[in-house]
Amino acid sequence: MTIRPNALPTQEMTINMGPQHPSTHGVLRVILTTDGEVVTRAVPDIGYLHRALEKIGERVSYAQYMPFTDRLDYLAAMNCNCAWAWTVEKLAKIEVPERAEYLRVIVCELNRISSHLIAFGSYTADMGAFTPFLYGIRERERINDLFEMLCGARLTYNYARIGGVSGDAPPGFLEKTKEFLDYFEPKIDEYNELISYNKIFVNRLANVAVISAADAIAYGLTGPSLRGSGVPFDLRKDEPYSVYPKFDFKVCVGAGERGKLGDCFDRYMVRINEMRESIKIVRQAVEQIPDGPVLAKVPRVFKPPVGEVYFRSECPRGETGIYLISDGAVNAYRLKIRTGSFVTMNIFETITKGLMIADIVAVIGSFDIILPEIDR
């Protein structure tokens, strides 16, 4: 087809997607330059949820910062809690009771499931199917019930403490966890049947925004976004921390199941499959959990030694690395947090060239970004 040049002069349109947009998962703003439906340029504009979380960490004491880590990634607060606790413990070389570590692993993995459920649900809702979202929420509520029983809160848990956890598992908690796992495991198959392999859904995701393994590494992607490109990198396996080495689980990677390796569908399937692995880990942890105290003796006015530390752990949205400099005072001298969602913004512009407007939604959803993690 040939179009006579200048027969019908057209011009590109700049559209502002967000910060109030239902599919940008919060207050992300994407400036789209489009040629009709085709996006020629998509530039993410971040910072609408900047709350100076890192600076707050330098102003409050180490123990006081724990509730703020809840707000770092509100869908995976347990993982952030534990990441902070592990970092400070690494800095101060605190020996954590084993039962506490097991409890941490249990809650982290449960939280990973609940976070992936939201990722799954909101992704399908972005794609236009609203029903799976509510199914995901329904299952997540059960996890919230478990956490409420354990620590008294449903979203901002503030469960981990420097040197352990705030409370031992109440009677019946471990049984209820097992009950939940038995209930939840078949639901994953149901999700797959309902939506994952739906022809329309597959067509929306397959071959969209393909990221090669080399690109993914070069841009510093982590977590499911990296594994979706077929790179089997998981900090729980590659840089084991806590009691993860004791559990048997496999690292889920994208397989190019329905399209090219590293497309949106692979990233989505990694999350679905990771839920199964998390179930496996929680099952083993519940079986093996030893008795004992859950909180090490840490002085009330806690002053870690002078020094610096970097600790990274595998959160649902990728690596959460915390860099901490201590000058021996009650609060940190410098705090820097590296999050999985933030780095995905780097590659955003590169991979969205030439996609459709609807694909932008698919790309944002496939990274499963969360804005407090990006802006901090």
């Binding site: 349109m13 559209i15 947009h21 239902p22 599919s23 009709g36 439906e37 399908t124 809702a125 972005d126 794609m127 236009g128 199917a129 609203f130 029903t131 509510l134 199914y135 329904r138 309902l194 939506i195 739906n198 329309i200 859904f201 067509n203 929306r204 459709m356 407007i357 609807a358 694909d359 939604v361």
Partner: protein, 371 residues
């Protein structure tokens, strides 16, 4: 309508004093009023049922606060829509902005005129009924495009453009998928099409079971019509997760209400057409409703028709809460690469079938085998 007026004048000589055109006009207004009431009621109740169905499917309850079990929710919604401020954006094209909702509403409402509700219950039995529906529902595209353009909002514009492309593309498969029914009946009138599906074969007299091609035709029509009326999974012009709300994003109050009502009106039109053309319309299986006294025959056939149509509406809602949305290029591909060729093949198949078997359907042939 004039014929009805003449018969009415004959039945009631008191009316003879008035000129014939006045009686005809009065009758037209009366039937338009009745249809409007029906359409609005359906649209109101439809919105409630849609939410209830959504609730059931999504493991929730749905609206249940207004009135017993929430059945008055639609009234509350309606009152809310009427009372809300009608905001017109400062930079909008005021005239077109105000005009657009009426186009959309009229396009959907005018199609009700030829819906055969019962043996004699049809506002206007046009001899080009199907043609009329196809034509008048195309008015919607004008309204949607106007709404998208005049809002002076980029999202609305995208929604309007998508709607235009989509509705125009899917007119073809919709028309092609309806033609088998026309061919079988040998008439474009919807009443004739429904009448052709009666007889002693019961549900096997329906066009759906006439031959394999007409069977597929029904599903093709249903799918294409959903796309033409912007129902999920083809709700790209609205696409609340991409275009926020598409062409109606700037509308509020009763102007938004008109878009909303038109959406449900379209839903009913699709259900009614698929019922009339493929599911036997008002034909009661194994029973000749036309033979009954006028009142009872009409009531019975109306009930049967509405039951069939509402079942189809429920199916549409069920589909809506199950499937994700297509992308715009996939939508076009589906129309031009799948729906259009398939409907053409179907049309060809039905034509050949009718030619080869002299208009007889499979059930009729089986019946004739057994005498």
């Amino acid at each position: 309508m004039e014929a009805l007026a003449i018969s009415l004048v004959k039945a009631a000589p008191a009316l003879g004093a008035a000129p014939l055109w006045a009686v005809t006009l009065l009758l037209m207004l009366a039937s338009a009023g009745i249809i409007l009431v029906f359409a609005l009621t359906f649209e109101g109740v439809g919105s409630l049922v849609l939410r209830k169905v959504a609730g059931d499917i999504q493991a929730r309850i749905g609206p249940n606060r207004v009135g017993p079990n929430g059945i008055l929710q639609f009234l509350a919604d309606g009152v809310k829509l009427v009372l809300k401020e009608d905001i017109i954006p400062a930079q909008a094209d005021r005239f077109l902005f105000q005009l657009a909702p009426y186009f959309v509403f009229v396009g959907s409402f005018a199609a009700f005129v030829v819906v055969p509700f019962g043996v004699g219950l049809i506002a206007a039995d046009l001899n080009i009924g199907i043609y009329y529906v196809m034509a008048i529902t195309s008015l919607v595209v004008v309204g949607v495009l106007l709404a998208g353009w005049s809002s002076n909002n980029k999202w609305a514009l995208l929604g309007g453009m998508r709607a235009a492309a989509q509705i125009v593309s899917y007119e073809i498969p919709v028309g092609m998928a309806l033609l088998p029914a026309v061919l079988i009946a040998g008439s474009l009138s919807l009443q004739d099409i429904v009448r052709s599906q009666g007889g002693l074969l019961g549900i096997f007299g329906w066009n759906l079971f006439h031959n394999p091609f007409s069977f597929f035709s029904f599903f093709l029509y249903f799918t294409a019509a959903q796309a033409e009326t912007n129902q999920t999974p083809f709700d790209l012009p609205e696409a609340e997760s991409e275009l926020v709300s598409g062409y109606n994003v700037e509308y509020s109050g009763i102007r938004f209400g008109l878009f909303f009502l038109a959406e449900f009106g379209d839903m009913f039109i699709v259900a009614a057409l698929s019922t009339a053309c493929f599911l036997g319309g008002w034909q009661v299986p194994f029973f000749n409703a036309a033979a009954l006294p006028a009142v009872w025959g009409n009531l019975l056939s109306l009930g049967v028709f509405l039951a069939k149509a509402f079942t189809m509406v429920l199916v549409m809602m069920w589909v809506r809460w199950t499937l994700p949305r297509l992308r715009v290029d996939q939508l076009m591909r589906m129309s031009w690469k799948y729906m259009v060729p398939l409907t053409f093949v179907n049309l060809l198949g039905v034509s050949l079938w009718l030619l080869v078997f002299r208009g007889k359907g499979i059930p009729a042939m089986i019946a004739s085998l057994f005498g």
